[in-house]
């Protein structure tokens, strides 16, 4: 297929069946390969939509500085678009993210302000909000509260899924900013009666939850509980195990958050089999495995890999 530029090729990613992992001909799993986007992750969609919206509203003008709290993928996507459009990009990123994320961000010209590992992305959000107050001329697109994040999925990911899989019964995705689930979820709920929208939330090591007070937790402004059917917490061990299964059984080399989504998707598949119902379960492959090679996620035993991942933000 031919496109005028790299950004024009965004989206329209393949939806591939999983013949080995699907339990039966009536209960099928489908992977939406979002790693096939320009910077290799699903975040290219919200990044592109958020920048376009800010430009349209006159918030972003050439030479502007974009600020964003990010554990990696959103920052990488924003940095790429920022480079092409002539913006300076500043990312606030937790220290406990993979080395590849830092390398990629720098490659696309982003500046990185590290935030403390303890507290994970909550800390990055806090630090970024402080910086935004200090630099009123910087533009914080703020993926956690920017409606263009969810809208990117409402306008692109959702329609693509329904076009490729009109018989869809379940949609499963990782829960981070909640943008993917809110956007695709709303789109499908308006068109597919009874569709289940299932969130798979990464459960990290204790360090990441090391907040000073439980009242300092964080729920993204985009989050609307009523869009979801249910929500699962998936341990690092389950996410790693499923990431490896996906590679071994279907040949798909995905990042660890994909294993998290697959774990919930397989849980839904098992329920459908038990209930004797047909199911077409689509889940999101948020990125490929390349950015996680240095974490050792694919080496040695599962136990060893899990230990190496302790305290890391893998989604």
């Amino acid at each position: 297929m031919r496109y005028d530029s790299l950004l024009d090729s965004l989206g329209h990613t393949p939806l591939v069946g999983l013949p080995s992992l699907s339990p039966s001909a009536d209960v099928r799993l489908w992977a939406k390969l979002e790693d096939r986007n320009p910077t290799g992750s699903v975040k290219d969609r919200p990044a592109h939509w958020m920048i376009n919206k800010a430009e349209k509203e006159g918030l972003l003008t050439p030479g502007c500085t974009i600020l964003e709290p990010t554990s990696g993928n959103t920052g990488i996507s924003l940095a790429m678009v920022a480079r092409l459009r002539g913006y300076r990009m500043v990312c606030v990123m937790p220290e406990n993210t993979s080395a590849e994320r830092t390398q990629l961000l720098k490659m696309w010209g982003a500046e990185i302000i590290p935030s403390p590992a303890a507290g994970g992305s909550n800390e990055a959000v806090r630090v970024a909000k402080g910086l935004a107050a200090e630099h009123p001329d910087w533009v914080m697109l703020y993926q956690y509260g920017n409606e263009a994040n969810a809208r990117s999925h409402y306008e692109s990911t959702g329609p693509e899924l329904l076009e490729d899989l009109p018989t869809i019964t379940h949609f499963v995705a990782g829960l981070g900013t909640t943008g993917t689930l809110m956007g695709v979820g709303r789109f499908l709920r308006e068109r597919v009666p009874g569709v289940a929208i299932v969130a798979a939330e990464p459960r990290y090591g204790e360090l990441v939850y090391g907040l000073r007070n439980i009242d300092e937790g964080f729920v993204p402004e985009l989050y609307d509980e009523s869009v979801l059917t249910t929500r699962y917490s998936v341990t690092s061990e389950d996410a790693l195990r499923r990431t490896r299964e996906l590679l071994a059984a279907e040949g798909i080399f995905a990042g660890i958050s994909t294993g998290c989504a697959l774990h919930a998707a397989l849980g839904m598949a098992a329920k459908a089999v038990k209930a004797g119902e047909r199911a077409d379960i689509a889940f999101v492959v948020a990125d490929g495995g390349w950015k996680y090679l240095s974490t050792g996620a694919y080496d040695g035993t599962l136990d060893e890999a899990e230990k190496r991942l302790e305290g890391q933000l893998w989604a």
């Binding site: 909550n122 939330e201 993204p220 929500r231 341990t235």
Partner: protein
């Protein structure tokens, strides 16, 4: 058999540092009340007058109880309840 309740780091001052405690009850509400007897102050950190606190997530066997029935969610021996603070992703 009892119900295992996993406690996050920031609430272990109520459990003498224990990562997990055990309790009983037919619903989550009853379980939290049962725990309160041995770990005074814990319940108030999890629940306010409107139900579960906003930044507290509770999972019954890995499923978010907000989608199961909230505090009225049925629990039984052998279940695992996990309490976690809400964190950001992305």
């Amino acid at each position: 058999m009892a119900i295992e309740v996993r406690i996050p780091t920031i609430l272990r001052n109520y459990t003498d540092g224990a990562k997990a405690v055990e309790g009983g009850g037919a619903t989550l509400d009853e379980l939290f009340t049962d725990l309160e007897g041995r770990h005074p102050g814990l319940r108030d950190r999890l629940v306010d007058d409107k139900g579960l606190r906003r930044f507290v997530n509770v999972y019954l066997n890995d499923e978010d109880v907000r989608f199961l029935g909230g505090l009225e969610t049925k629990v039984s021996d052998g279940d695992t309840v996990t309490v976690l603070p809400a964190v950001a992703g992305g």
